[in-house]
Symmetry: C2
Subunit: 144 residues, 2 copies
């Protein structure tokens, strides 16, 4: 009894737009984008579908610690870097690390199912524009 997902217009547009973007949008951001194609879609529908689609392995849910949930249409294995200033999320490709983590199957008696590695820092744009004083604050904030 495999679950049957209907290919509704809403669902199709959500996946389509998510795949087209490389910005790892939040549910709300995606809602705004999808609304330009389907003006009557509701936020609840976006949330519901993002949940169903990620449960079904069609898209990826990114739960970055201490920040809003984001979604990714790219199912290839990769890490993410978040900018502590502008909150943008980019891809980070580090195959050796990925390999190391994949091999870690047990820690302290725990059976490891997922290892989630995330990086935060300053993106190229913010790096340039951040004052030294601000830099201290950002790093301070980050360490907590």
């Amino acid at each position: 009894m495999k679950l049957k997902l209907r290919a509704t217009e809403q669902r199709k547009v959500i996946v389509e737009e998510l795949r087209r973007l490389n910005t790892h949008p939040t549910a709300n951001e995606l809602y705004d984008i999808v609304r330009s194609k389907l003006p009557r879609i509701s936020l609840g529908t976006v949330y519901r579908n993002l949940e169903i689609l990620s449960d079904g392995g069609i898209i990826k849910k990114l739960e970055m610690s201490g920040s809003q949930r984001r979604y990714d249409g790219d199912m290839e294995n990769h890490f993410h870097v978040r900018c502590l200033r502008c909150q943008r999320v980019s891809d980070a490709c580090l195959p050796e690390l990925q390999q190391t983590l994949n091999c870690l199957k047990e820690i302290n008696g725990y059976e490891i199912v997922i290892s989630h590695l995330e990086f935060s820092g300053l993106c190229p744009e913010c790096r340039g524009s951040v004052e030294d004083s601000q830099r201290d604050l950002i790093q301070c904030k980050a360490v907590n």
Copy 2:
């Protein structure tokens, strides 16, 4: 002009209890525990102090992705493992990995400030008691 924190009774008990525990409690869990010593303390005070104390580098804030915030009185460098079934959080000591991550100072033009590695899986207790069918669901849930 260094900030001056008063050693109030509330603050002292919060740190004391957090240091005593190795369970990485949520604000609410800690609130319940602290209330047995200070029955009139308010949840807001607990939240406020946890924030101030982690800003001040006295305790650690754990923002595990997709789950409630937790706090740790142990300031030594270490990772954490979360049980996907009972949500318990334990320490994971992996010095080589820690070392590797500390060396990663730049990715894709980002200046890396923090690398946050977290593991999720099944704790020793849950490992034993989880049925195979449930195991599939847990892993499925986890992969998203």
